[in-house]
């Protein structure tokens, strides 16, 4: 395996007395898609926010492309440009059209000329199938469309890695498929991705590796095959059983050939 | 969005600057005077060649606006004359009465004339010139008057006559009528003072209130009349306010006021505005 794009060592985070996670070691190699699963309140979302420095870890190291990014003196704005982030609640800029949402980082951060930024933004919207919605405001778009704009906004910055924080949890069931479709397409294009999601069908089909987190630490990680069908740890087994119970049938052994068969479920509350 | 706000703000600022170009004080230039100053003036004034005087032009007949909207009145004409004698250009600053003393105290104004009566509290903050005008008011009755007026409020027991629009009219209106002591129908206003005395003679009214100087002049022809009470009611001694400790300016005003009084100018003004 090549040198990992993202390397995490002994990462630790607490809020006051509350330990959110600890001893996290994780490598993400170029072109890899890694899915993190686990119960709510386990620190998965906080982990993503620590990675792109929206919140700061209390110990451990994060390396991006061989550079230590959670260290004093690092230009955090520069780091965030290289890490795309997709939020559970989309968090589109409400006062801007889809096009302007995607353009903002290009003109304000990358200092691109307006015409060039428009062109780039349109092609990113095209990539998520929303070129015809370029001039719609977030309030005029469905949840699925908003999330695809959110993905386009992150992609426009040409990030080294994309972080997805439960990107489909806030969506109505019929809208989940279009977002997962875009994510699968990105994975196929070779984008490096780290996704927190409960979409087991997506994980099974697209992920190179699944990481199971519980109570602030990584319990087990491995290929989808190994983790889902031959989990070593009893807690992993218990979790997989639970989400099957709660959210519908996992077709044991059946080829995961589509997101459409994904069980409908309601999201748990996001942690932190 | 942000830019739109910036544009709006700059437009607004530009408009405001235009508006601020207009001077808040309305200078009323005195005619140029060639006569040299007969008195010593504070250096600051003689250097500037002008004196800024505050007044509250809402107090007729002392200071008010005429039909053209220009300041006029007893104080206005007197100060115009005083500035002329000083050889200074006169610049008026209108200001509410309550702000005038503070404005003189803080050096915003060189002096103020606004029917100021001397008071001890004011004297602690500013200095006063000698009084330029004071009048005594007299209550006059005819022969056969059997009542008594030992204090001004006693007049409210009788039908009173007064010349319309005078300071005595003002005093009666605010001190007797508006306080409810004197029924409004018991106050008769006359266009001329003689008309009041004529009605007094016929008994249609019992008391006339008028300036004592004017009354005495009238009594020479009408020995039946008698003054039953007199006091400084409608106008106490009035003086010009100057900054505390500015003895040079105070002396200049004192000298010139006495000059104008002895020349009869002040009486002329009183005749014009109070009678």
């Amino acid at each position: 395996m090549d040198e990992a794009i993202l390397k995490i060592r002994q990462l630790r985070k607490h809020y006051g007395e509350n330990l959110i996670f600890h001893d996290i070691d994780l490598d993400v190699a170029e072109g890899e898609t890694i899915v993190i699963i686990g119960p709510s309140g386990t620190g998965k979302s906080t982990l993503l926010r620590c990675i792109n420095l929206l919140t700061h870890a209390d110990g451990g190291e994060i390396w991006l492309d061989g550079q230590r990014i959670n260290a004093p003196g690092v230009d955090e704005d520069l780091v965030r440009q290289q890490i795309g982030m997709v939020f559970q609640n989309f968090l589109l800029f409400n006062h801007l059209t889809a096009l302007e949402n995607v353009k903002l980082g290009l003109t304000k951060v990358k200092k691109m000329k307006d015409a060039q930024a428009t062109q780039k933004a349109l092609s990113e919207l095209q990539r998520v199938g929303l070129a015809d919605r370029a001039h719609h405001y977030p309030g005029q778009l469905s949840g699925g469309q908003q999330q695809r704009v959110g993905i386009a906004r992150a992609l426009a910055m040409d990030p080294r890695i994309m972080l997805f924080d439960e990107p489909t949890s806030a969506l109505d069931p019929e809208l989940i498929g279009e977002v997962l479709g875009v994510m699968r397409q990105l994975a196929e294009e070779g984008m490096t991705m780290l996704c927190v999601t409960h979409e087991m069908g997506f994980a099974r089909e697209v992920a190179d590796k699944i990481v199971f987190m519980e109570k602030g630490s990584i319990v087990e990680q491995g290929s989808p095959e190994d983790l889902m069908y031959r989990p070593e740890h009893p807690r992993t087994r218990e979790f997989l059983w639970k989400i099957t119970e709660l959210y519908g049938q996992q077709q044991e052994g059946a080829p995961a050939d589509g997101f459409e068969a994904e069980p409908a479920w309601k999201p748990n509350e996001d942690e932190v | 969005m942000f830019r739109k706000f910036a544009v709006i703000i700059s437009l607004v600022l530009a408009a405001a600057m235009l508006a601020s170009c207009a001077q808040p004080t309305v200078p009323t230039a005195a005619p140029p005077v060639s006569a040299p100053a007969a008195v010593e003036l504070p250096e600051k004034l003689s250097q500037a060649g002008k004196i800024v005087v505050g007044t509250s032009a809402d107090y007729p007949p002392f200071e008010f606006l005429d039909a053209q909207g220009n300041k006029t009145g007893f104080d206005i004409e007197l100060m115009t004359k005083l500035a002329e004698r000083m050889g200074l250009k006169l610049e008026w600053a209108d200001m509410p009465f309550d702000s005038l003393v503070a404005a003189v105290q803080q050096g915003k104004l060189d002096a103020s004339i606004s029917a100021f009566n001397y008071s001890e509290e004011r004297d602690e903050q500013v200095d006063f010139s000698v009084p330029y005008y004071s009048s005594t008011d007299a209550f006059v009755v005819g022969k056969g008057f059997s009542g008594a007026i030992t204090k001004p409020e006693d007049a409210a027991h009788y039908k009173i006559g007064v010349q319309s629009g005078t300071v005595q009219d003002g005093w009666l209106t605010s001190n007797l009528v508006e306080t409810g002591l004197l029924p409004a129908e018991n106050l008769s206003r006359y266009e001329r003072a003689e008309q009041a005395f004529m009605d007094l003679a016929t008994g249609r009214i019992v008391v006339v209130m008028a300036d004592e100087v004017a009354v005495k002049a009238f009594m020479e022809q009408n020995p039946d009349l008698q003054i039953v009470f007199s006091a400084e009611l409608s106008t106490g001694p009035m003086a010009i306010v100057v900054p505390e400790g500015d003895t040079v300016l105070k002396t200049a005003f004192d000298t010139l006021i006495k000059q104008l009084q002895s020349e009869g100018f002040v009486d002329e003004l009183a005749e014009k505005y109070f009678k």
Partner: protein, 214 residues
Amino acid sequence: MNAANFLQYIASGTAYTLGVTLIALPLGLLIGLVLALVYVYGGKAGSRSMQAYSIVLRGIPPIVLLFILYFVVSGAINLSPFTAGALALGIVSSAYQMEIIRGAILSVDAGQMMAARAVGLSRLEAIRSVVLPQAFRHAIAPWSNEVAIVIKDSSLVYALGVPEVLRRAQLIGASNQNYLLAYGAAATIYFILVWLANKSLVGLEKRLAIPGSH
């Protein structure tokens, strides 16, 4: 003075009334904006000191600040009554406008800032491009109250002798003893100014409304 001249004399004070308002409002907005940013983003020290600023300034009657500025401060810097009045009202207004803008900023979902930072925008750029454009829209409605208050408070500069609408009404009323007509005219002018300001702000709010949002 005939009625036409009479009304014209009072109406010509509108220039001063507007002048004071058009200095005080943008000044208050500018200071209020900066202070609101310190309040919201300036940490504990920032919010504490801004709270104090707000309490002190909102506790002082505007007329007192006006006198302080004209009679005390302008011993050092010579201010005209007009300037002192406009500055004083602008400073008073800044405390109220700070509160308005602060409320508007807080009404913008915190996620907006997070998303902007995630794209790589600096904090300042995120405030400028993402938070404030939304906050300003929320601020227009409460702001129109403040506009009305400043227009009406602009009459306070009469105390320094600025010949604005109210002072002119006093002078005219005294000169011809028709106070009812004089003050009636002044009231009508203030009413029209406030009405026009509110109408145009409602228009602005409509024009800037974000399509599809409620």
